[in-house]
Each structure stands twice: as structure tokens, then as C-alpha cells.
């Protein structure tokens, strides 16, 4: 149904992909679109490395005793999984790939404000990535991605310093990306493109950039202090001196909680674009959805202490943080309701990106609702540090952010590559990912309430059935992720020509050729209408 046919329109003779050739033309490019593709390649690499670790974790957990790996190895597996997935895949995923590609195009600009910084951002990311790969190859790190002191600063015998340096460096990549987006969105919008005509993808990236710029430096300094404590005995968190390990947790979560919003806000932006396009309708409550993005970015900074309810943080602070955590749930709820309302009286097409968007809303809703359990103080005591929390944040980060990332990649693939992906395979993969995901992570909610702690290499026998289910789901999920890799690469060569606007979508990025020229637009576009100004089509058409 409604899969776009091959375009009659001829492909542009010159575009950003063939404007120049050779490895130098890529490694020294200042074109935001090429840098986006550099990021796409790098984060895909890290995604599958991180995924491999996940698969090994699940294989170990098929049986209660720790029989496949030693506990030291197992601890390294889950730590590397977390570090790579959080810092090297999820945080850069949508902003550095789709954001880099689309932010200038959506606002009618020729490039980001600071193209050289943008390239630098990729190099910094890559250097951080090399450090992390060096860690993987020299024995790994076993602190958990949270690096809690004093284990990380004093007791661990693994590559903590190297990892911390890698993450520290990568943080600057994130800061530079955020900085670039903020300035670009402020200063380089096309004539007529006022703030309330911006696509929500832009609002989402603006909010995300705020978090990147304000949060990242704090985790950077916290990790640097851990590194200094290990190497130079600058013992700021050392309990033997009266140092406070909980202080590290404050500094760590000041960034790392908002970091979840770095992952989910751009995902929400993608969903707003996809839903309006495939419901062929303006977004319901545009102003509220835009304001909700900013509200999430700001309120998201006030809730970090909900990671520390049982940590020895004061009861009083716990109550403040719990209360604020409930407040940040409101804008998220607003977004879900508005997306649902957008479907009402739309003209809905079940394309692959739309299937991912449906999946996103479902999984994000479940992730968000279980977040309420964790914000609720009394219940948090029991489920804290159990598989309940693992399930919850995978529903947000994988069910939410990764679903949206895949949806976005499919949605803009015609623009990025100039080719259509095979629609049938796309829908199949979306379905497999959805089923595999739920089978993997839903049982973990039950496991968590039963009391199975996280980061356990071996576990009591009564938890085995649910763990086997989870492992089975993970293999299905793995297949679901490999499929797009195969058919998207296939389509680059054999896909049908897409034409500039295969989805009949609104938005400036669809007004230029696919793939676009290096300068994006032949002449600077002028905007005269609101975002998503879809006109209902006559009934019976199509």
C-alpha cells in the first residue's frame, strides 16, 4: 500500500556524494552531510560492537550459574556494553547523524555555523572511540558504565583511566555538536522561518543541544577527577580522607540523567516529522509539543537525585528529587497525547517509518509509565538496581531512541542516498525489531520485581525461565537490526531512484534534490507557511 514508485524525475547530475572523490575529500570535508555520513559509519560500527557484547551477556544469562564466562569477563562485558552504547552510540546517534544532515537543510542554510568545528567533532569522537577500542583490546574495564567511586577510583584493577579519558574526549565531540546546533538555529534560519514555524525536529535538537552544552562538562570533570585520583592521588572522592562517594554520584547523574533526554528528545523530533508526514496532517498542539521539548530539557536537570534514593542521600533530598521527577513526566505525557491526537482524522499510510513511529509511541509509553514506578519513592526502594530498572531504561533508550533512529534513517534514506529502500523488507524488519524487543525486555520487568539484581553474573535458579525468554528475544532483536544494515547498503546500489520528495512531505529538506547538492539549495528558500502545512487529499485518492 502506498509505497512510492520509482521517480520519473532524473537524478541530479552533481550532488554532495559525487561532488569530489577520494578518501581525502571525505576525511577533510566540511560538508555537514558528509560529516553526518562519517558519523553514521562510526556509530554503526560501535552499535554492532556494543550489540555483540549484549548478545554475550544474554548468552551467559541463559543459565543460572556463571558458566560461559568468568565473572571478571562478564563484568567487563556489561561495562563495555554500557559505555559503548551510551557514549558512542546513543548520545551521538540521532543528533550527529540525522541532526547533522538535516538541521541546516530544515532551516534553509548552506551548512552549520562552524563546519570546521563539526569536522573536529567527528575527529574528537573518533579519538575517544580509539581509546575505547584500546580498552576493549587491552583487557577491558569492569566498573559499570556509571564508574561509581571508590570502586573505580581505588579498587578496580582494569583499564579505568584509559576508559575515562576516552569518554572525557568524546564528551567534547558532543559539546561541539550541541554548540554548533544552538548557534546555527539561532543565527542561520532562512528568511520567514520564525521560531514557531520551525519543524519540531529543530526544536528537539535545540533542546538537546542545551543539555549537551550544559551537562557534558560536569560529567567530564567528574570523570577527570576519578582519573586524577587513580593516577595522581588527587583524592577528592576518597572516603579515607573524608571524601564523599555520593558527591561523585551527584556530579555523574547531573549529566547522565539529562543524557537520557539527549537520547530521547531528538527521537521525539523524528517521530513528530514522521507522524505528520504519514498521517498527512498538521501536528496537533504544535506549540505544546515544542514547549514540552524545552521543558523536558530544563526540568530534566532537576531530577538527577532519583538515581540515588537508596544511596545514602538524605531523605529530604530524596523527596525533592522525587517530586521534581514527577513534574518532568508531564511534558512527556503531553507529547504522547498530541501525537495520538494527530492521527485522528488523518490519512494514515503504514510505511516503514510510520511503523517505527507506532512502535516508538507504544514502547516509549511503557518506558515512561514504568519510569513513574521508579520516581515513586516507596516502590523505588524495592526495584532500585534490579532488572526492573534495566527493562525501564531499555524501553526508553532502545524501544524509544533506537526505534526512532531507525524510523528516521528510513524516512530520510531517500534524501541521504537518493534511493528508495525495499519497503517490504523494511516493514518486516520493523515488525521483527518490535517483537524481539518486547520479548527481550518485558520479562525483565517481572524479574526485577521478583528481586533479581542487575549486573549479576550468576543468579538463583527460580529466575531461569524469564531469563531464557529474554535471551530468545535478544536473538530475534539481533536479526531485526541486521536486516536494515543489509538492505540499506543493498539499496545504495540497486535501489530505485527516489526523486526529491518521495513521501510528499513538507519541510525544506524535501524541496531540494535527492541527494542534495553540496550547497543544499540552489537559492536560499523563503518560508511563508507554518510547519507541516499538509492539505487533506480528496477521499478515494491513492
Amino acid at each position: 500500500m502506498a509505497a512510492p514508485g520509482p521517480s520519473q524525475e532524473p537524478e541530479p547530475r552533481e550532488h554532495y556524494l559525487n561532488a569530489s572523490y577520494g578518501i581525502r575529500s571525505w576525511l577533510l570535508t566540511k560538508d555537514h552531510k558528509r560529516i553526518a555520513l562519517l558519523f553514521l559509519a562510526s556509530i554503526t560500527f560501535f552499535f554492532f560492537i556494543g550489540g555483540l557484547f549484549a548478545l554475550m551477556i544474554r548468552l551467559e544469562l541463559m543459565t543460572p550459574p556463571g558458566d560461559l564466562f568468568t565473572s571478571a569477563t562478564y563484568n567487563r562485558l556489561f561495562t563495555m556494553h554500557g559505555v559503548i552504547m551510551v557514549f558512542f552510540f546513543l548520545i551521538p546517534s540521532i543528533p550527529a547523524v540525522l541532526g547533522n544532515f538535516l538541521v541546516p537543510m530544515m532551516i534553509g542554510a548552506r551548512d552549520l555555523a562552524f563546519p570546521r568545528l563539526n569536522l573536529l567533532s567527528w575527529y574528537i569522537y573518533s579519538i575517544g572511540g580509539l581509546f575505547t577500542m584500546a580498552v576493549v583490546l587491552t583487557g577491558g574495564v569492569d566498573t559499570g558504565w556509571t564508574f561509581y567511586t571508590p570502586y573505580s577510583s581505588t579498587y578496580s584493577n582494569s583499564q579505568v583511566a584509559l576508559t575515562v579519558v576516552g569518554v572525557f574526549i568524546t564528551g567534547f565531540s558532543s559539546i561541539l555538536t550541541g554548540l554548533n546546533f544552538i548557534i546555527t538555529i539561532h543565527k542561520m534560519r532562512a528568511p520567514g522561518l520564525t521560531w514557531f514555524r520551525l519543524p519540531l525536529f529543530i526544536w528537539a535538537h535545540y533542546s538537546t543541544s542545551i543539555i549537551m552544552v550544559l551537562g557534558t562538562p560536569v560529567v567530564a570533570i567528574a570523570l577527570l577527577l576519578v582519573g586524577l585520583e587513580r593516577l595522581l592521588h588527587i583524592g577528592i572522592f576518597d572516603p579515607r580522607l573524608g571524601g564523599d562517594p555520593i558527591l561523585f554520584q551527584h556530579l555523574f547523574w547531573f549529566y547522565s540523567h539529562p543524557a537520557v533526554y539527549i537520547m530521547i528528545l531528538p527521537a521525539m523530533g523524528v517521530i513528530s516529522e514522521v507522524i505528520t508526514c504519514f498521517a498527512h496532517k498538521r501536528l496537533f498542539g504544535y506549540n505544546f509539543v515544542a514547549a514540552a521539548a524545552v521543558a523536558i530539557a530544563v526540568l530534566g536537570f532537576l531530577v538527577w537525585g532519583h538515581h540515588m534514593f537508596v544511596s545514602g542521600q538524605s531523605m529530604y533530598a530524596g523527596m525533592i528529587f522525587s517530586f521534581l521527577s514527577f513534574l518532568v513526566a508531564v511534558p512527556s505525557a503531553i507529547k504522547v497525547f498530541n501525537w495520538t491526537a494527530t492521527l485522528y482524522k488523518g490519512q494514515i499510510v503504514y510505511s516503514t517509518p510510520m511503523l517505527y513511529a507506532f512502535g516508538f509511541i507504544g514502547l516509549f509509553t511503557m518506558g515512561g509509565l514504568t519510569g513513574l514506578f521508579l520516581a515513586t519513592l516507596g516502590v523505588n526502594i524495592h526495584v532500585h538496581d534490579t532488572y526492573f530498572i534495566i527493562a525501564h531504561f531499555h524501553y526508553i533508550m532502545v524501544g524509544g531512541a533506537v526505534m526512532a533512529y531507525l524510523g528516521g534513517i528510513h524516512f530520510w534514506w531517500p534524501k541521504i542516498s537518493g534511493k528508495l529502500y525495499p519497503e517490504g523488507w523494511g516493514r518486516l524488519a520493523a515488525l521483527i525489531v518490535f517483537i524481539g524487543f518486547n520479548l527481550t525486555f518485558f520479562p525483565q520487568f517481572i524479574l526485577g520485581y521478583l528481586g533479581m539484581p542487575r549486573r549479576y553474573h550468576a543468579y538463583p535458579d527460580e529466575f531461569v525461565v524469564l531469563n531464557v525468554m529474554s535471551t530468545a528475544g535478544a536473538t530475534i532483536l539481533g536479526v531485526g537490526y541486521l536486516l536494515p544494515l543489509v538492505y540499506l547498503i543493498w539499496s545504495m546500489r540497486y535501489g530505485k531512484s527516489a526523486g526529491s520528495n518521495p513521501w510528499n512531505a513538507k519541510g525544506l529538506e524535501w524541496q531540494t534534490t535527492s541527494p542534495p547538492s553540496t550547497e543544499n539549495f540552489p537559492i536560499t528558500p523563503v518560508v511563508t507557511e507554518e510547519a507541516y502545512n499538509y492539505v487533506p487529499e480528496p477521499i478515494g485518492h491513492g
Partner: protein
């Protein structure tokens, strides 16, 4: 930023003020003000920082946006310190200040 060029005199006046305030900081530290000495020291430092930001960094002559950006940095720092201290200071309710 604007094309506004500040007269050189302003820079010298500000620098002189900063030196005076430096002397004031050192002088206040000599007084035994108890808890107030922290407040005084930080208050003077804040005034010095504001002078640098407004005149040397020319924020006073810049767009509203740069006010917001500069303010956001300090505001977020305040959030970080305030909420962290909400834990640190209330962790054990046993230490009472002297009346």
C-alpha cells in the same frame, strides 16, 4: 556583539575598580567576621566578575541573547550546587548550628 566601540577610558576605570576591589577582598579577609566573611569574599568576587563580564567582555553592549547565554551558565551552576547541597546539608540531622 555590536559595532559599538567602548572608549578606552572605560577600560582603565574598570581596571582601577577591580584593583580597589582586590584590596577590599584582602582587607575583608583580615577582619574576623565569622560566617559573614565567606559572604563578603564571594560578594566582592561576584561584583568583580560582573564588571569583567559587562565591560571587558562587552556583554553590556550586546544583544539580549548574550545576556541569556551568560546567565544560563551561572544559573545552571546554581542548580548543580543548590540541589547537591540539599543532600549534603540534610544528610544527618544531628549536627545543629550553635544558637
Amino acid at each position: 556583539m555590536s559595532h559599538h566601540v567602548i572608549p578606552r577610558r572605560v577600560y582603565f576605570v574598570i581596571a582601577a575598580l577591580l584593583m580597589l576591589l582586590l584590596a577590599a577582598t584582602a582587607w575583608v579577609a583580615e577582619l574576623d567576621l565569622g560566617r559573614l566573611s565567606v559572604v563578603a569574599a564571594l560578594g566582592i568576587a561576584l561584583v568583580k566578575a560582573l564588571l569583567v563580564i559587562l565591560y571587558f567582555m562587552e556583554v553590556r553592549y550586546s544583544s539580549r541573547l548574550s545576556w541569556i547565554v551568560a546567565g544560563a551558565g551561572f544559573f545552571w551552576l546554581l542548580i548543580l550546587i543548590a540541589l547537591t547541597m540539599s543532600d549534603v546539608l540534610t544528610r544527618t540531622a544531628v549536627t545543629l548550628p550553635a544558637e
